[in-house]
C-alpha cells in the first residue's frame, strides 16, 4: 500500500554552504544517508511522509483482515493471510526507515493513535463483499505500485531501500487481486455482479489515492527538487488509469465513469471529474470507516500493553540473573 501525496510540503529557504553541498549531491543523483547533513525541512518532510506511509500500511491491514476468516477457499485464505502479513511487514520497514531520521517508534505510534497523523484515505472505505478483496489487490495495490516504483529512487537512502523491498513484494498482491476478479468474472451472474459492484465503489476512491490535482499543490516543486518525489500526482494518476482500464475491459467490467474514453491523439484514457469534496471529507476524518479504523488500532495497542510490559520485565530479570 502507500502514502498518498497528502503532505503539505515545506519550502526550503536554507542558503548555506551545507545546503549548497546537499543540493549538489542530490542533483548528482547521490543518496542522502542518516547521519549526513540535511536541511531541517527535508528531515521533517521525510519523517512525515515515511511515517504516514507506514501508518497506511498498518491501517491497511484492517479492511483486508476483515475477510480472512471468510475467504472462500484455503488457497485464498493462505494468500490473503500472507498479503496482510506483508502489509504489516511493510509498515515495519517504513517505521524503521523513519526512525533513522531521529524520531522514536513510540512517538510515531502515538501520532497515529491520537489521530494527529494521517494515513491513506483509501483505507477508510469498508470491504463489503469478497470481491472487494479482489478489487483492493488489483486497484489499490496497483495504484500503490505506480506511486512506489519512483520512490525506489528517492534521494533518502533508507526510504529508497525500504521501497525496493516493498515493491518486490507488492506485485504478488496485485496479481492475486486480479486473479480473484478474473475468477469472479468468469463465474455465475451473481459473482460477476459482485465484481462490478466492487469496481463501482472502489474506482473513484482509488483515483483519489494519488492526491490532489497538480493545480492545487503549492510546494510540489520542493519535493521534486529534493528528489523525494519524481512525478506529479496527475502524471501518476494518468499512468494508473492507462494501465488499468484495459485490464478492467479484459474482465468484461464497466468503469463507473461515463466520460471515460480513449483519446486517439495522445493515446491516454481521459476520465471524468473527481469529487474532491469527498476526498477532503475522508481526510478530515469523515469517511465511512475513519472512527472504526482508529478504534481498532487503539484497541490492538491497548490489548498488547501487557505483552510489551511482560517482555520488558522478563528481559530485565534475565539481565539481573546473568
Amino acid at each position: 500500500m502507500y502514502s498518498q501525496a497528502l503532505n503539505t510540503e515545506e519550502a526550503s529557504s536554507d542558503i548555506s554552504p551545507d545546503a549548497d553541498r546537499f543540493q549538489a549531491c542530490i542533483d548528482d543523483e547521490q543518496r542522502i544517508e542518516p547521519n549526513d547533513w540535511m536541511p531541517d525541512a527535508y528531515r521533517r518532510t521525510l519523517i512525515r511522509q515515511i511515517s504516514q506511509h507506514a501508518h497506511s500500511e498498518v491501517v491497511g491491514m484492517l479492511p483486508e483482515g476483515n475477510w480472512i476468516t471468510r475467504a472462500p477457499s484455503l488457497r485464498r485464505k493462505a494468500a490473503l493471510l500472507a498479503k496482510v502479513q506483508d502489509e504489516g511487514g511493510h509498515g515495519l520497514y517504513l517505521y524503521s526507515a523513519a526512525e533513522t531520521l531521529g524520531v522514536s517508534r513510540e512517538d510515531l505510534q502515538d501520532q497515529l493513535l491520537s489521530g494527529r497523523a494521517k494515513y491513506s484515505s483509501i483505507f477508510n472505505y469498508p470491504t463489503l463483499s469478497w470481491a472487494d478483496i479482489g478489487t483492493i489487490g488489483w486497484l489499490v495495490d496497483g495504484a500503490a505500485i505506480m506511486n512506489q516504483i519512483p520512490l525506489c529512487r528517492c534521494s533518502y537512502g533508507p526510504y529508497a531501500r525500504a521501497m525496493i523491498r516493498v515493491c518486490r513484494e507488492e506485485s504478488f498482491h496485485q496479481r492475486q487481486g486480479y486473479e480473484i476478479m478474473l475468477t469472479l468474472c468468469q463465474g455465475t451472474t451473481e459473482q460477476k455482479a459482485m465484481a462490478q459492484d466492487a469496481l463501482n465503489r472502489w474506482w473513484w476512491p482509488c483515483l483519489m489515492m494519488f492526491g490532489p490535482p497538480d493545480t492545487d499543490s503549492q510546494h510540489s516543486d520542493t519535493s521534486m527538487r529534493w528528489k523525494i518525489k519524481r512525478f506529479t500526482n496527475d502524471a501518476l494518476r494518468q499512468k494508473f488509469v492507462d494501465a488499468t482500464v484495459p485490464q478492467g475491459h479484459f474482465l468484461g467490467l464497466n468503469f463507473p465513469d461515463p466520460d471515460l474514453r480513449l483519446d486517439d491523439a495522445s493515446g491516454h484514457w481521459q476520465f471524468g471529474a473527481i469529487d474532491w469534496a469527498e476526498f477532503r471529507a475522508v481526510l478530515a476524518g469523515n469517511g465511512p470507516c475513519n472512527r472504526e479504523r482508529l478504534e481498532a488500532r487503539r484497541k490492538a495497542h491497548a490489548d498488547g500493553a501487557w505483552v510489551r510490559e511482560a517482555a520488558l520485565a522478563y528481559a530485565a530479570k534475565q539481565r539481573i540473573a546473568a
Binding site: 526512525e99 513510540e106 510489551r308
Partner: protein, 92 residues
C-alpha cells in the same frame, strides 16, 4: 520504558557476508531474532540472521569523511593499473 532497537543483518547464502537490512524493536535478543525473522525473511531471503543493539554500533562521523577517506585518493600506486607491464608479458 521504550522497547530497545536492534539492527538486523541477513546472510543470503553461505559465501556471502551478512548484510544490513533494517531494524526491529524487541525486549531482548531472542525476541529480536524472532521479530527479524518475521519481518525480513518471509521469502527465503536468508540462511542466517544477526541482531545487534543499535546503540552498541560505533560509527564514523560523515563530517569526517574527507579526513578519513580522502587521503587514499592520491595514492594511486596502491592500484595495479599504476604499474606498466609490457604487452609481451601477457596478463598479470
Amino acid at each position: 520504558m521504550n522497547t530497545p532497537l536492534w539492527e538486523v543483518f541477513v546472510r543470503a547464502r553461505n559465501g556471502l557476508a551478512h548484510k544490513h537490512v533494517g531494524s526491529v524493536h524487541a525486549a531482548d535478543a531472542t525476541m529480536a531474532v524472532q521479530a527479524a525473522r518475521d519481518v525480513y525473511t518471509r521469502r527465503g531471503e536468508g540462511l542466517s540472521l544477526w541482531v545487534v543493539p543499535s546503540n552498541e554500533i560505533v560509527a564514523s562521523d560523515p563530517a569526517d569523511k574527507d579526513m578519513l577517506f580522502e587521503p587514499t585518493g592520491s595514492k594511486i600506486y596502491r592500484h595495479p593499473t599504476f604499474y606498466a607491464v609490457p604487452e609481451e608479458v601477457g596478463h598479470m
